[in-house]
């Protein structure tokens, strides 16, 4: 029974540990896709504060643009496709360098962008000569400057998720900024990259024939929230893209890595970032070569952040990480202690059983049984006990796993692309369009996932548990058998008498 309890505990801990690993794997897959072994990104140093110096996030609206309404306000509608904040790009030579590294099985790329659409009205500064160089304290409206007849609107923070920020009403302005994430995907390689962790829910996926065409595939959550459907259109950077497919995450995450996916060449031309990419996804020929490829990538692309699955796993924080650490530390030691105790109990029971059976073994020796016959008999019985203990332990373990899964605690996993290990896998962002501040990159690029932790007893774990029980039985059998073999028949029978 001791052996059974030990095996049950080991099986339960292993199953929970396996569940944690699966959850980690799901988080990783949701971040950069199934099949990707290494991800290469470049991350800019975050701005110290929201000073609005990033020209990529400005709307430069000419003084004569838009229409002036009856109240003297100028009405604008502007759409831009910009590089996702905090992201830098690789040129073609960098991608080629990655492809040429030994041991690389496949390379695909993507360009992560943010679509910004400005709709609204501003006071007609060009005509009434008002200056907006100073802003009112407490206003959420970002600075609006009008040097030499040009209005400049700079949102402080650009989220990657599809959000609509309602503008303020300072100076009689009334506008909104709609943002969503757009990912240009390489259509030449499949099975690796961000789309590999998605499932098609309607329409179709990209084909190579889609290169150069204005077609888009949408994340199902985004499509639902915007009431967009197949054969409809979505406006990206002022261009209408035909929606050909809707995707959902194939992992436990609610959303995929981007709101909208378009062909890479379209993303590059619309964002005026020709021939560049923001992410390089590398698949290794063999898992044993991943570390060497990562080293070679770091040498070939010294400015890049090269992250393997293991690196990314180390950036996962939150309760999933806590659970993982708990399982790794407490669970492992608990298993070792439980198993050691179980083994000792099994050995103790067997040797005390031998003592109890002194008369029996003494009699068998008197009948002519040699010591090896006795050892074999005790060991065989002990192994049978081990198997029985293993089976009972596995049953108890399964019951424990079932109870654990009935409660299925929800754990939270968070990743930070600025972690020391190097991330750069931009997920969905947080924060509204004006959620500025020094930490805006982190808030925009980090990802948090809620996962129901499920323990999973694989055949390997079950086999290991039974093997441990067998080992316990054999150990007990060896100790007990040796003790039985040492019995001298005359003394055994005399002590019984």
């Amino acid at each position: 029974m001791g052996l059974a309890l030990g095996v049950a505990l080991v099986l339960t801990v292993s199953a929970v540990s396996n569940g944690v690993q699966k959850s980690q794997s799901q988080v990783l897959q949701s971040l950069y896709g199934v099949g990707t072994d290494i991800s290469v990104t470049k991350v800019v140093t975050p701005d110290a504060g929201g000073d609005g110096q990033n020209n990529g996030r400005r709307f430069n609206i000419g003084g004569g643009a838009g229409q002036v309404d009856a109240n003297g306000n100028r009405v604008f509608a502007r759409s831009r496709l910009i590089l996702m904040p905090g992201t830098e790009t690789f040129d073609v030579a960098s991608v080629t360098a990655a492809k040429n590294i030994s041991g690389v099985d496949g390379v695909t790329t993507s360009l992560k962008l943010t679509s910004l659409t400005f709709n609204g009205q501003l006071p007609d500064f060009a005509n009434n000569g008002q200056s907006s160089s100073s802003s009112t304290p407490g206003m959420s409206l970002p600075p609006i400057a009008a040097p030499s007849g040009t209005d400049v609107v700079t949102p402080n923070s650009i989220p990657s998720g599809g959000r609509k920020g309602n503008g303020g009403g300072g100076f009689g302005s009334n506008f909104s900024i709609d943002t969503f994430s757009v990912m240009g995907v390489d259509l030449s390689v499949s099975g690796v990259g961000p789309l590999s962790s998605t499932t098609l829910t309607s329409g179709r996926v990209f084909t190579q024939a889609d290169s150069g065409t204005q077609v888009a595939v949408l994340d199902s959550t985004y499509a639902t929230s915007k009431t967009l459907a197949i054969n409809g259109t979505v406006s990206i950077g002022g261009k209408d893209f035909k929606i050909v497919g809707i995707l959902a995450s194939s992992t436990s995450e609610a959303e995929t890595a981007s709101n909208v996916y378009i062909p890479l060449d379209q993303a590059q031309s619309l964002s005026t970032n020709p021939d560049v990419v923001s992410n390089i996804y590398v698949k290794a020929k063999s898992s044993s070569g991943i570390n060497q490829i990562a080293t070679d990538l770091k040498a070939a692309l010294p400015d890049a952040t090269v992250s393997t699955t293991a690196d990314l796993a180390s950036t996962i924080s939150g309760s999933l990480s806590t659970a993982s650490n708990l399982i790794d530390n407490l669970g492992r030691w608990l298993s070792i202690i439980a198993l050691t105790i179980a083994f000792l109990i099994a050995i103790l029971f067997t040797t005390s059983g031998v003592t109890r059976r002194t008369r029996e073994f003494g009699t068998l020796k008197a009948l002519g049984w040699k010591s090896r016959h006795i050892v074999r008999q005790v060991a065989a019985e002990s192994v049978v006990h081990g198997v029985l203990g293993g089976l009972i332990g596995v049953s108890l373990g399964f019951a424990s796993v079932k109870v654990f899964n009935a409660f299925a605690p929800t754990v939270q996993a968070s990743t930070s692309p600025f972690a020391a290990a190097g991330g750069g896998f931009a997920g969905r962002g947080g924060g509204g369009p004006f959620g500025g501040g020094g930490g805006r990159f982190a808030s925009a690029l980090g990802s948090t996932v809620n996962i129901a932790l499920k323990a999973s007893a694989t055949p390997g774990i079950i086999a290991s548990a039974i093997a441990l029980a067998l080992l316990g039985g054999i150990l007990a059998g060896v100790f007990g058998g040796l003790r039985a073999a040492r019995l001298r028949p005359a003394e055994a029978l005399r002590s019984v008498a």
């Binding site: 008369r359 029996e360 003494g362 009699t363 068998l364 020796k365 008197a366 009948l367 002519g368 049984w369 040699k370 010591s371 016959h373 001298r488 028949p489 005359a490 029978l493 005399r494 019984v496 008498a497």
Partner: protein, 227 residues
Amino acid sequence: MSNLYELSHVVKTYSKGRGEKITALSDVNLVIQSGEHIAIQGPTGGGKSTLLQMLGALDRPTSGEVIFDGDDLAKKSDGSLSSVRAKSIGFVFQNYNLVPTLSALENVEASLAPLGMSKKTRESSALEVLNAVGLSERIHHLPAELSGGQQQRVAIARAMVKKPRVILADEPTGNLDEATRDEIMDLLEKLRVDEGITLIIVTHDTSVAKRVQRRLKIHNGVVTEVK
């Protein structure tokens, strides 16, 4: 008749600790011929069981010779003594000493296990001898499901099944009522005659001792013939 046992100047001492020694057998000289029926009597602690252990190759003397069938048991290794016991010596104990988790048939088969026989041969031999002791209807019963007399019959069958040269019985009727005692003694006597086996019985029971050809008395480790 040939000599089965020749004991010469056999001494057996046990250490009691602190240098103190107990002499269980003191210069025993004894010859036992094949086919004899012998009873050994004596007070408790007199050395009966020790003598039986020497005769049964369960122990070696401290000094002296125990010649069995031409071989000195005192000079044999543990493994060789096991082989002698397995082939030539059968034991019957006062408390039967059956393995409680084995059936009557399996208990008898256990006696043949060290001889390297096939399972089928072991089983047929065990069935034959269980039938001879009148237990053919009880072969699958566990010891706990048998009466004392039936258990002792199984023990006798276990001793007989290997067709030994000698059966050593230590108080074989000590736990039995008178009627059952007589049945068991009749059975042992019949088997001895039928199989030509030497039968040596240690007993306190005078009525049992009176049934044998030769009576030995052992007191303070010294063996004497009872006339």
